[in-house]
Amino acid sequence: MTDARPIPDQTPTPDQVESQALDDEILSGGENVYVAPPWKLMWWRFRKHKMAMVSAVILILFYFTAIFCEFVAPYDPDASFIQYKYAPPTKIHIRDAEGNFRAPFIYQTQRGIDPQTLQIGYVEDTTTRYTIRFFVPGFEYKLLGLIPTNIHLFGVPEAGEKQGVFLFGADRLGRDMFSRIAYGARLSLSLGLVGVFISLVLGVILGGISGYFGGWVDTLVQRTIEFIRTIPTIPLWMTLSAALPVDWPITRVYFGITVILSLVGWTFMARVVRGRFLAMREEDFVLAARLNGATEMRIILRHMVPSFLSYIIAALTLAIPGMILAETGLSFLGLGLRPPAISWGVLLQEAMNLRSLVLSPWVLTPGFAVVISVLAFNFVGDGLRDAADPYAR
């Protein structure tokens, strides 16, 4: 047995210096001062997930664009510019032909057509250039539907009708892809949220009841789920799109379909929740709560739901991109939104052909918007899941 024990390091750490003040607080009963609220803990853990942080920023940008798309878009997304048909993304220069650095500008382009194939091409005319300016006047719109204005984020006001700045090129009718994507974000990013929300609420409540009570309640809910899940969705969609009034605006039609989708979608959520409940209702803390005389609803909501919050968050964030993708899938089937409505699904369907892929690949940029938003949602969801994980250290 060793007798000589080294005296621990006595150099005071900054922490220790502060301890005097804290000391008094503890003694005076300020016990909660060191307990970070749960959301703060979540935020700390979430911050750790670098990709989730980046993704959250991207999503904020996307939603900003969706809300203020008129401001972000330099052009009316429906305006056809006959002279810009199939224009590729406009090159933005910071160095002119003489090699001088300047504020970002673009050159005037000249259109040419191959007489054999009718292929359209554009060449830059380096003698005429237009500076890109910010907060420039453009087409009239109402910001947030309220404030009439004509100020846009950026543009080339000097060019007038002669030349446009097309960040992502122009489509087959000479419409600015960037403006169209910005407008498309509004529909694509917003419509799915409602569907996800409905399926979430239904799924958690019914799945929870089913898994928690078991017995005939479980059987009933399970049969219902089974039944709903066996109703084939495609004919259902077809019926709906046909049955909805012809004069309904297309967004309302799609909104209806989204709601129906979520009415089917909740069953997935419910199965997950039920499985968790089955495993969990045996656990001691549930028993303890019950012995304490907590009501069943309270047991579910206060004790069991928080314990698998991570699952719900994971499923939720996976469901939002699922909805975005469902929109593109529906459009592909011709059951979703239709022009003149602008959504990413519609833009993608317009571009879903070999011609676009070979001759004007830039019209596929809505695909990137979809991928990036899905990616971002997934990372944010992942980060949230990890942050909310009750087992996380």
Binding site: R5, Q16, Q20, L22, Y34, R393
Partner: protein, 341 residues
């Protein structure tokens, strides 16, 4: 106690957890020894570092925790050829996932965990989980391992082990699960069994049975037990020596009787005051004291004696300024407190 009876010597063990919120010094210089056949109790409030000590010995400190300093010397008695010969191994130097460490884990040092239900895989039979441990450390086949497992279960007081070895954990009562876990821990005849609050989840009758069982098994098998608990009653019943921990440090170490009858450290004294004594009446139980205040935030350890903010006998200007010394007040009774300096 002869030197060759030393089983484990822990010196200046520091295990820190590196979190975003700050560094948690879960163990901040822990020293104590475990002797062969000894039953040593480790007591303290939640978060004082009891379990981390156990996990440090087993080298299964979960990330982002890490042993940053100190040694854990394990004196291994070689069985096969050089019978009785002793090999010194510093466990902190081993790769925690490497074969050497794994050969010690389970075989030489076994763990009986806190929650037997959660500690058994719900989808494997207990037989499967016990046999696995046996086959891992002994060169035996499946059949033989099964026989040994049944034997172990039997010894652990598991009724009808032959029939019930293929049960799943959730089919068993809490007591039986704990017996199964103990059987698993003992299956390879370890020289140290770390029992991490093995009876917290059990009712009093079962707790008593289990404790009795552990004692008799220790008697039969001659192993050392490191008994981690916050229940001083259990300590009194089980242990020969007691180590009291507070905020990652040992504040008092003494034979069990000394701790109970002559506690030195104010913390130990407070602990003892907070538990009901045997024979106390229900009425009196209301007069039990709790230790005032709460354990400080683990990121900001108070300066000086970590216990001073809660201490009734603290001396202003001393306790909150200087590290208290580690003093042997009586033979075998050590305390970390300025009151005895």
């Amino acid at each position: 106690m002869k030197q060759d009876q030393l089983l484990i010597a822990i010196k200046n063990l520091k295990t820190y957890f590196f979190l975003d919120e700050g560094t948690v010094r879960a163990l901040d210089g822990v020293d104590f020894d475990i002797w062969r056949g000894q039953t040593i109790g480790v007591v303290g409030e939640s978060g004082c570092g009891k379990s981390v000590t156990a996990r440090s010995i087993l080298r299964i400190v979960p990330r982002p925790g890490r042993i940053v300093d100190g040694t854990i010397t394990f004196y291994r008695r070689l069985h096969d050829n050089g019978a009785g010969q002793i090999e010194e191994i510093d466990l902190t130097k081993l790769d925690p996932t490497g074969p050497e460490m794994r050969n010690i884990r389970g075989a030489e040092i076994a763990l009986v965990p806190q929650e037997p239900m959660a500690s058994l895989s719900p989808v494997h039979t207990i037989g499967n989980q016990i046999c696995e441990a046996i086959m891992l450390h002994q060169k035996v086949g499946k059949e033989e391992a099964r026989v040994k497992a049944i034997e172990m279960l039997d010894r652990a007081g598991f009724p009808q082990p032959k029939q019930r070895i293929d049960s799943y954990p959730h089919q068993l009562s809490g007591g039986l699960r704990q017996r199964a876990v103990i059987a698993m821990g003992l299956s390879c005849h370890p020289s140290l069994l770390i029992a991490d609050e093995p009876t917290t989840a059990l009712d009093v009758t079962t707790e008593a049975q289990i404790l009795r069982l552990m004692r008799s098994l220790q008697h039969d098998l001659g192993m050392a037990i490191m008994f981690i608990t916050h229940n001083l009653g259990v300590v009194a019943q089980m242990c020969e020596d007691v180590v009291v921990m507070y905020m990652g440090r040992i504040v008092e170490e003494a034979p069990v009787d000394d701790i109970f009858h002559n506690p030195k450290h104010p913390y130990t004294q407070a602990l003892l005051r907070s538990i009901p004594r045997l024979g106390q009446k229900t009425k009196e139980r209301r007069q039990l004291e709790s230790i005032r205040g709460t354990v400080p935030d683990p990121y900001t350890r108070p300066r000086g004696c970590a216990f001073h903010p809660r201490c009734t006998q603290r001396i202003r200007g001393v306790c909150d300024q200087t590290e208290p010394p580690w003093l042997e007040v009586e033979p075998g009774h050590k305390v970390r407190c300025v009151l005895y300096g």
